[in-house]
Subunit: 364 residues, 2 copies
C-alpha cells in the first residue's frame, strides 16, 4: 500500500497504518548528500562555476534535501582522476571532460567532441535527440558511470604561438602543448605534442621550452596570461569545434536515487548545459577585445594547414575505427549526424550569420 | 489538517509537536495543479511537444505533486490570447511567442527576437547572462506575468513563394503572409503583409489569394504541405535569426509557489529551452532533404533584397525607439550585444563552420 492509497483509505487518525506510511515519505524525499569532483580549478568561473550552479539548482529544487558539495580539481582527487574516483565510488559524481580518459580507450574522446566534428548546437542535437546520450551511456557503463551533458565550451581557439604558422612546414618540430587526440593527429604533421600541467604552461612558454599552447578560448586563456609570452593567437581549434563537458555519476549511487531526484539531476544538467555555453558566449567577446588591445595578433590557420590536419585526422580515424568497435559505432553516428547537420546549417543559420558579419564589417 | 501533516505527525507519534512540524512540510511540497495554455497546435511535435516535456519534468521532479496540464491552442483560449489568459489568471501560465502581442506594445517583439537581431546562441547568452531576462521581466510585469525562455526555433526559413524573388522590385505588391514587425519593415519595400490563420494558409496560397507565406523551417513547414503549392523556398528569414518562445507565468500564481517549485519551473524552462532548439536541429535536415527531393527550389534571398530589408528595418527601429522608451531600452541592449557577439562569432565559430561546409561541398 503506498502513501497515497493509505491517506485515502485511512483518512485521519489510524495510528496503526501511520507507521506504515512514514517510510514511503522518507523514500520519496530523503536527505541525500553527495560529493562532486570537478576536473577544473576554482579560478575558472566558467567550467568550475557551472557545477556550483548545478548543485544550487539541485538543492533549491529539493528544499535542500539533496545537497551536492562541489570540490575543485585536487581537493579530493587530481582533475584527471575524476572519472576513476566516480567509478570506484570515492565521490558520487564528477564534472569532467571525457577526452581526458582516452588513454583508457580512445572512444572517450568522441564523447567530448572529435576533431572536425560537430559544432556546439549540433552536439546538443546529437546527444539529446539523435542517439548520442544512449550511445555514450552504453559505453560509459563499462566504467560504472552514467553521463549527462553538462555544458559546452563552444568552438575554441587554436592557441598561442611564439612564431607565425604560415604553412604546414611550420608545424615541423613544433613543441605544442595540446591534448591527446589532436596531438596524435598533429604528430602526423611533424608536431611534437607536449603534456604540460596547467601551472607550468606560462613559464614553459615564456622560456621557450614549448613553442605553443592551446587552452580554451579568449576568456579562460586571458587568465593564464599567455598573451604576454606568445604573440600569435590562431583560430579555430579544428580539434574542438565544440567540447561537451559531462556530469558522470556512479551507477550504484544513481540507481539508489529516488526517481524524482534522478529527474532533478537530469534536468539540472540540461540547465547547466545551457548555462555554460551561453556563459562562454557572454564572456568571450570582452576578453577578445582586451587581448587584441594588449597586442595579440589574431590569425586564422592557413587553409593548407587546415586541409592537412583534416587529412591527418581522417587517417587517424581510419586507424582507430579499424581497431576499436566501440569507437567505430559512435564515430559512424557522429559522422552521419555531421553530414546532415551541415547540410541544414549552411542554409538558414550560416547565410544569416554571413550577412550579419559582412554588414557589421561594413559598419552597418 | 492535510494528508502530509497527518502522516508526518502520526509517524513521530507526538500529537503536540506534530501540529508545529506540519505546516512547514505542507508549505514546502504542496499539491499544486496548474493549467498551461500553449499558443501552438498539437500537430507541432516541436513547439507544442516542448511544453509536454516541460510539464513532465516538473511532475517527475516533484513526485507528481506539482502537475501542469498542457492545453493546445484553442482548447482554453485561442493561441494568440495566451498572454491575456495568463495576465488575468484564466490559466496560471502559457507557452507563447511574445511577438504575437506587439499590437499591445512593439516592445514584445524584441523578447522573441528582432529582424537582423541575435542568432539563437547569442539570444541564449543575452537572456541568461547579459541582462536580457531582467529587461524582459521589467517590461512583462506591466502585464502581470514573469517570463522564462522556453525554447528557440533557431534561424528560420524565409518562406514559400509562387514566383522567384530576383530583386527588390519583385517585392512590389507581393501579398506575403508574414508576422507583424517583419510585415511593417517589408511594407516599406512595397510588400502587402497578410494576416492569414494557420488553417487558411494552404488554400490561400494554392488559389493565389496570397503570393507567399512564411512559417518556421523545413520540419514544421513540411507539415503544412506548402511545397505542393509554392515552388521557391527562400532563406534565411532575416526577421527571425532566432525566435525565443517564452514560458509566461501569472505573477500572483508565481509568488504563491514555494521557493522550491519556483526553482523547479526555472530549471525545467532552461531544460525546455535546450530541448526545443536541439529538436529543431535534429529534425530539419531530414525534412529539408525530403522537400528538395519533392521538387522544392532552394533560393537565398538576393543580396540587394537583404540590404534593402536591413535598411528598412533600421528605419523602423529609428521610428519606434523615438516613440517608445521601453522599446529603446531593450533595443539598445540587444544592439550592443549583437555587435560584441558577432565580433566573437566570426572568429572561432564561423571559421570552423566555414571550413566544415566547404570541405563537405568538396565531398570531404
Amino acid at each position: 500500500m503506498d502513501r497515497r492509497q493509505f491517506v485515502k483509505s485511512a483518512g485521519i487518525g489510524a495510528a496503526a497504518s501511520a507507521s506504515l506510511a512514514a517510510p514511503a515519505i522518507a523514500q520519496s524525499a530523503p536527505e541525500v548528500k553527495w560529493r562532486l569532483a570537478s576536473s577544473f580549478p576554482k579560478s575558472l568561473d566558467t567550467l568550475f562555476a557551472s557545477s556550483e550552479v548545478f548543485a544550487k539548482a539541485v538543492a533549491e529544487m529539493t528544499d535542500n534535501k539533496f545537497q551536492i558539495q562541489v570540490f575543485a580539481s585536487g581537493e579530493i582527487v587530481p582533475g584527471l582522476q575524476a572519472l576513476d574516483a566516480t567509478t570506484n565510488g570515492t565521490v558520487e559524481m564528477c564534472h569532467t571532460a571525457c577526452y581526458y580518459y582516452l588513454g583508457k580507450d580512445p572512444t572517450f574522446a568522441l564523447l567530448t567532441g572529435m576533431p572536425f566534428g560537430l559544432n556546439a548546437r549540433m552536439a546538443d542535437a546529437w546527444f539529446t535527440h539523435l542517439g548520442g546520450n544512449e550511445l555514450a551511456n552504453d559505453f560509459l557503463k563499462k566504467y560504472n558511470v552514467i553521463g549527462f551533458p553538462g555544458g559546452s565550451t563552444n568552438a575554441q581557439m587554436g592557441g598561442w604561438y611564439r612564431k607565425e604558422i604560415r604553412d604546414v612546414a611550420d608545424l615541423q618540430g613544433l613543441k605544442f602543448r595540446v591534448g591527446g587526440f589532436a596531438g596524435r593527429i598533429l604528430s602526423k604533421l611533424g608536431v611534437v605534442p607536449q603534456q604540460t600541467a596547467a601551472s607550468d604552461i606560462y613559464p614553459s612558454l615564456e622560456k621557450g621550452t614549448i613553442d605553443a599552447v592551446e587552452w580554451v578560448g579568449p576568456y579562460d586563456d586571458e587568465k593564464l596570461g599567455l598573451y604576454k609570452v606568445a604573440k600569435y593567437y590562431y583560430y579555430p581549434a579544428w580539434w574542438e569545434g565544440a567540447s561537451m563537458i559531462h556530469n558522470l555519476i556512479n551507477l550504484e549511487k544513481w540507481n539508489e536515487l529516488p526517481k524524482s531526484y534522478q529527474a532533478v539531476v537530469r534536468t539540472a544538467s540540461a540547465m547547466q548545459n545551457d548555462w555554460l555555453g551561453s556563459r562562454y558566449d557572454s564572456l568571450n567577446p570582452g576578453a577578445l577585445k582586451r587581448l587584441v588591445a594588449a597586442g595579440t595578433q589574431l590569425r586564422p590557420f592557413p587553409q593548407p594547414v587546415m586541409e592537412a590536419a583534416y587529412k591527418a585526422a581522417n587517417e587517424v580515424y581510419a586507424e582507430v575505427t579499424a581497431a576499436n568497435p566501440d569507437f567505430k559505432k559512435i564515430y559512424d553516428s557522429v559522422v552521419a549526424t555531421r553530414a546532415d547537420q551541415y547540410l541544414w546549417w549552411q542554409v538558414a543559420e550560416y547565410t544569416y550569420d554571413t550577412f550579419m558579419i559582412r554588414t557589421r564589417a561594413r559598419g552597418g
